[in-house]
Structures are given as structure tokens and as C-alpha cells.
Amino acid sequence: MPNISKKRRLILASILMVASFLLHKIIGYEMITILVMITSTLVAGLPIFKKAIMALRYRIVGIDALVTIAVVGAMLIGEYWEAAAVTFLFMFGDYLESRTIEKTRSSIKSLLDLAPDTARVRRDGVEIDISPEEVVQGDYVIVKPGEKISVDGTILEGSAYINQSAITGESLPVNREIGETVFSGTIAESGYLIIRADKVGEDTTFARILEMVEEAQDKKANTQKFLEKFSRYYTPAIIVLAVILYLFTKDTVLALTLLVIACPGALVISAPVSIVAGIGNGAKHGVLVKGGEIMEKLGSIKVIAFDKTGTLTIGKPSVKNIKAYEIDENELIKIAAIGESYSEHPLARAILQKAEEKFGTISEMPEEMEITTGQGLQFKWKGKTYFIGNRKLFREQNIQIDMQEEYLQSEEEKGQTAVMVGDTERVLGIISIADIVREDTEKLISNLKSQGIKKMVMLTGDNTRAAKAISEELGLDAYYAELLPEDKVRVLGELQVKYSKIAMVGDGVNDAPALASADLGIAIGGAGTDIAMETADVVLMSAEVKKISYAIGLSRATVRNMKQNIYFALLVAALLLAGVLVKTVNLSFGMLIHELSVLLVIINAVRLIKYGEKEKLI
């Protein structure tokens, strides 16, 4: 009997409850009726009594112990029906709660289920199937159409359309070719791939996202910490009240009923269920919110600072204009490309790309090269010294640039960065480079405005005129230009003093310090960039910036949901207490309301799982 399944026990208890009810109505409180009621109490109550005793061994009075005392007490004073009803309701409630609470966690669980469970690798010319944990770095992993990729790696052979929804939340497949990176947990929808494993097992982006989501769902919101403290005092207080009332009034039923309602179950779970549903909703759509506290903060942000390059723009600058003085345009690009061949700067990539378009790969290398951060670089080629950079660089070399000033300004006003190329005596030419504003940036800005964000500013290392042009195009409130990474931190500090809560949005490439120093760091395009994922509080796995407004909306909906739950739970607790004291609430009715309130709180949280789907916010 003690070892039957929960479901069978529930069915048996239900039958006994119906039987006791009918017997009571038809023949009244006869011996047989009482026996059936006691059996029903035992069937439903045994697991509760057992748990109560186990906890009592550690001197812990949990809800099981309180219910046990109430039930035993009820039987002693002859309230057999009440005893049976209380145990049955407690058991039935628990069963329904565990079924529904699973739903609040379902988004996260479905994410966990996306983890790859097998990997096919080629070792010594033979293909073998192994578990993904056994793959080592450098293994050749083979992926056939429809299969899940089990490592983070580089494509060595083949190309495929890959569904990256597990990571970015985006369901449209993307094409990946030789040399490009693919992620574990994504699915090759077509095409046959051979991948070199770069990151395996727990180091893969997918595994790290899972770890972070798992961590996040239990990072408590401030409200939650308060509630836990409250319920820690509430239960003992009610127990003491029950004892005192019993001593004064000798009213056993009243004292026992108080015990049944002493645990504010709905209150304890009101916050965690909302948060897990909210975080799950985000994770499913490629937005990782790192915990309850962040969830609370995100929705209350009033000021947002954006990094420009790679955040508001796509971060792939290209050459827009070439102006050459005295030398040929092609010659100018060639010289510039040679000078930039070692540089990692985004502007360098634009120049190299242009040169490649014109002449194919350039194999010539500079003889010497030196970079000055914030200015540019100088290099030697065929024994001659050249400079590539901004005004500061040329002024420091005492090279005349007054003649170029007008042209520079007109280019910069178009939102372009004008890079000068020169030798030791003069400017040879000017290359204008510009980045493209992301498609969804404008939509984002207008969404944020309608969401009540008061101020949006841009921080950039770019020149003032280019910053101004883009800032005006997008309708931002202010811009701060020509900033080094450490300047961004300083400007954020100043803004914090002025506006208190401020969020920083960046791509994490060179703004990790800024992301960390803001009240809230939001990283975009997080998949694959470890620093961004680590430092930011909110991570957008894909580069769709408009998801920022979805994330803010989700945060507000989650907080709203949490508040509804809390107020409801507090109200129920107060009404129950009052009801018991004025004797309108008896044992079984008290238990019924208690269980119902827990259930309602969970069901309310489940609504969050669908947030944004109907409104097509994602």
C-alpha cells in the first residue's frame, strides 16, 4: 500500500471520497461511513505523514507537519469528513500543481532537449558515431542533411543551409560555406559538411547558453528575496497565534484551521514561476536575460546608450569614395592596402576589400609598420614612409592638411569616415569609408520611443561629423564621438550621474568595459563572442537589434505578472486569515482555497510563455 504510484493513490482516494460523501448523505454518520472516511484519509495522507516525520527528525516544521497535526486533531475531535477532505485536497492540489508548474519551465526544458546527442567523426579514415562529449578539438566531424551539428567548428568541405534557431531564435536557415563557423545545436537542413571541431562539449556556445539559462532562472529578483523573508516569519507567527488562541478559547477547530493556512504557498512561488516563464520565453527567442533581478531592472530602464559600429550599423564598413591627389586612384588604394595588411581595424578591412575587388589578393607586405591607437598607422614600403589615418596623425607629422579640410568635412557630414593617405610631405589622397545602418535600427528606435524610453544616445569612436549624421538620421537624442573604449566608460559614468539607470547596448567587441560598467549591459550578436556573453546582463544571440524592444516588453510583462501573483497571494492570505478568525472558513474550505490560490498563481505565470507571439513582437 505505501508503494503505489501517485496517480493510483489519487484515483483510490477520489473513489473513497465520493463513497464517504454518499454514505454520509444516505445513511449518516454510521460506523461504516467513519471507516471509509478514515481509510480515505490514510490513503491520501500516508505520504504526507511520512514526509512530516522525516522533516521533524531535523526539527523542521513544514506544511506536511502542519497538515498532519490538523488531520490528527480533526480525527480526535470526531471531524472525520474534514480530515479526509483536507488530506484529499492537499494531495490533489499537489498533483495539479506539479503538472502545471512543469509548463512554466517548458520553454527552458525544450531548449535543453535541443542538445546534440550523437556526433559522427572521421578518425583514421573511418567514420564512427560517438557521443558529443567524446569529440576532441581538431576532430573532423561529418554532418549529413537533416542532422544536428555537435561541435562549434569551421567548415572544411561543403556548404549547407543551417537552421540556427536553437542559438539565435531565428527560424530562417542561413547559408554557410567553407571557412565559415557553425555552432553546436544547430541543424544542417541541406548539404553535406565536414567540420573541424574548434570547441567541443561544455565549451561550445550552445552548452554555455544552456548553462547560463539554467543559472539565470534561479537568480532571485529583489521582490522575491523580500517575499522569502516574509514567509519565513509568517508561518511561525501563525503557529504561535494558533497556540495562543487555543489556550484562551479552547477552540480546537479554529486552532487546527489556522495551522492549515499557515504556509503561504502561493506567495512563496508567486515570483519564481513568473520569472522562469519569462526567462524561458526570452531564451526561446534568442534573448538571454540573466536572472530575476535583471528582469526587474530591464523594464525600468529610461536611458539607453548605443555603441555605433556593429550595433546600430552592421559593422562591415566599405569604401564609398576615393579622391586621389597627384597619383592614380588605383595606386592610392594599393598603397593603402599594403599598409593596412596587418591591421585588424574595421576600416582596414574596408580598404583591403576594395583593393581585392580591384587587383585580387595583394601579396606585397610593408617593410615596417607601427600603429598609433586613435590616430592611424605609419609604414615603410620600397624604402619610402607612408601614413594612413586621421587629422591628429598628420598634424603630429607636421604634414599640411589645410587644403583637404573642406573635402574632409563634406565627406564626414555624409556620415562617412574620411581616411587620409600620405607620405612624409603631403596628402596623397582621401578614402571615404562608411558603414551601413542595420535594417531594423529605425524600427527599434521608434519602438523604444513608444515604449517610453526617455533618452537614447550614441557612443562612438568615430569622428564627430559622421556621428552627427547617423545620429540625426536615426533620430537619437545625443551623440558622443571620438571616444576610446575607456572614454565610453567615463561618458557612461557621467550619464549615470545625470539620469540614474542607464543601459548600454554594444556588440561586445571593444565595448566590454562599457557593457560591464553600465547599470545594465545588453550585448547583441552574442553567439560566438564569449566576452560579450560573460559580461552582459542581457544577451541577444542574433544581431537583430529590434529584439531589444521585445526584451524590454517581456521584462515589463514578467514584472507585471509577478506583481499580479504577489498581490493576489497576499490578498488570499489576508482573506483566509480573516475568514478563519471569524469562523467562516473551516478546515477543508481553508485547504481548498489554499490549493486553488497556488494553482491560480501558476496558471497566471503560464500565460507568459506565449508573450509576444500574438502581437508578433519577435
Binding site: 522533516a55 531535523y58 513544514g62 499537489d94 508548474i101 527552458i108 512563496v268 497556488v598
Partner: protein
Amino acid sequence: MTTKTYQLETVTCPSCINKIEGMLKKTKGIEKSEVLFNSSRVRVSFEESTIESEEIKKKINQLGYKVLGEK
């Protein structure tokens, strides 16, 4: 001082949190414990010279919550 996380069977009842944390708090050698309600895990910081991980697992099991794994 060692910190370990134990994966439990799905925790669903609100009072489990207080029960498990309360028990661990009263156990010698355990510095800090936290029930992660949503992921059904318990994170415990303990002094290895006083109490072994196996002992902690046994205690949680005895309280009626099956420990499925640890890390």
C-alpha cells in the same frame, strides 16, 4: 570549502525550499545552502573535513527528495 550542486527530481511544492534549506542549515559542516527552485537543484557549500558529499546526498534523500546527480 567546497561547493557542489545536486540535481533533484523535479521540485514543485513551495514548501520544499524551506524544508531542504532548513535541514541543511542545521547540518554540521554546511556553510551555505540554496535550493534552486526552478531548475530543481540544490547548491551547497561545505567543509570537506567535516562532512562528505555522500553524506549530504544521503540526508537529502532521507528527507524525501531523490538526488539524481551532482557536479
